[in-house]
Structure formats: C-alpha cells, structure tokens
C-alpha cells in the first residue's frame, strides 16, 4: 500500500504491517533530513506533491515491484510539509521470503521514487533563505 501523509512516519507501525509468517526478510529504508548539505545548514525540508499523480505513480511502483520480486507486503509512505533533521521524509518497507529480494525491491523502489514521483523538496536554510531542489536544473 502507498500513502502520502502530513504526519511523522511511524516506522515501528510499518514494520509490524509487513511482518508475515511467510517472510524471512524485511528491509526498511528511511530517507532522513540531513542537517548539513554541502556545508550549508538546513533547518528543515519542505515537501510538496502533485498529490493525485504522486499517488498513482507510487501505486504503479508498488505493482511493478510486486511483478519483479516475490513481495509479500510492501508499504511506501512519503511525508509532505515540513520535515526537520533526523526525521524521515520517506519510508519503504518490504517483506519477502528471502533477503536478496527484499534488498533489491527496496532499493529499486526508492531509486524509482526519486526518479519518477512528482514530489519536490525545498531547502529551508539556516540563514533564512529557501531553495527548491530540482536536480539537473541550473539558474533557479
């Protein structure tokens, strides 16, 4: 299942929801806000989504992961709004019978999410300035 939320992500709850008697492996990935990026201090990241499309894209990624690997349970959660340092903006939890598939599916899901899903972050720098992050884009 997939979810966009404005609340902090409850990792323990995600882990409980992917536990399964047929699962031998669970991989949880958390993307967390870093306080320092290239030497500059971040107060927080603000995330915005094209909500309807992001939900569609995330559901497609889950379906594709299930077609590629023997996924038992899969939860993808992206938090929106302000995410302070050390808190998770994204969580992906996958359970599979064997560990190689859980790592492969988890890594593919986060790589694909970062490439395709219409969500954007804005740096809130400690000096008060803000900056949208658009990889590959110059002259913002």
């Amino acid at each position: 299942m997939i979810q966009l939320t404005n609340e902090p992500i409850d990792s323990a709850d995600l882990l409980d929801r992917v536990r399964h008697p047929e699962a031998g492996a669970i991989v949880l990935f958390l993307g967390t806000t870093r306080e320092l990026t290239a030497g500059r201090q971040t107060v927080a990241l603000d995330y915005e989504a094209y909500h309807e499309m992001a939900e569609k894209q995330l559901a497609e990624l889950e379906a594709e992961a299930r077609s590629r690997w023997p996924v038992i349970e899969c939860i993808i959660v992206h938090r929106l709004g302000r995410v302070p340092p050390t808190e998770a903006s994204v969580a992906i939890a996958v359970s599979t019978p064997h560990r190689g598939d859980a790592f492969a599916a988890g890594q593919w899901l986060i790589d694909s999410l970062k490439r395709d899903v219409p969500i954007w972050k804005r740096e809130q720098w400690a000096d008060g300035s803000t900056e949208w992050v658009h990889p590959g884009l110059h002259n913002q």
């Binding site: 094209y50 954007w120 949208w132």
Partner: protein, 81 residues
C-alpha cells in the same frame, strides 16, 4: 480552447500562481502547450524547457493531444525521497 495548467515547486513560485490558463488551438499537443506557457508567462522560460508534462496525472509525451477538459501539469525535475 482554454486549458488549465497546474504548476508546482519553482514553477509555482516563478509564476506566482499554482495554476494558469493558456489559449490553444483545438488540436493542440503537449509541445504546443509548452510553447504557449512560455509565451504567456516569460518568467517560466527558465523552467519549462527542463520540465516534463503530465496530462490526466500521467506523464505525457510531446505529441500527447489535449482537450479543454485535460488536466495538464508542469513537472519540474523531481526531488522527493
């Protein structure tokens, strides 16, 4: 026809709006809306060439055709995760 275009992130900031409306011929494609946005909103010139477009909340190709009920969106390079 009038087509509404959703804007996000830096595109929204540059236009000062989260949605704009552009005037297009009836058989317009995504390529046409791309050109029309820049003509109507020069501030978006720095982002639109690098952006992808979505129609109906799915990624579109340059030749995707539009109608006046199309939900078009400018998708600047994404940075979720």
């Amino acid at each position: 026809m009038k087509v509404r275009v959703k804007l996000f992130a830096v595109a929204k900031d540059l236009a000062g709006a989260d949605q704009i409306t552009v005037d297009l011929p009836n058989d317009a494609t995504v390529s046409d809306v791309r050109a029309a946005i820049v003509a109507a909103h020069p501030a978006l010139e720095q982002i639109v060439p690098c952006a992808l477009f979505a129609v109906g909340a799915e990624y579109a190709t340059p030749d995707t055709r539009l109608n006046e009920r199309s939900e078009v969106a400018v998708i600047p390079p994404v940075s979720g995760g």
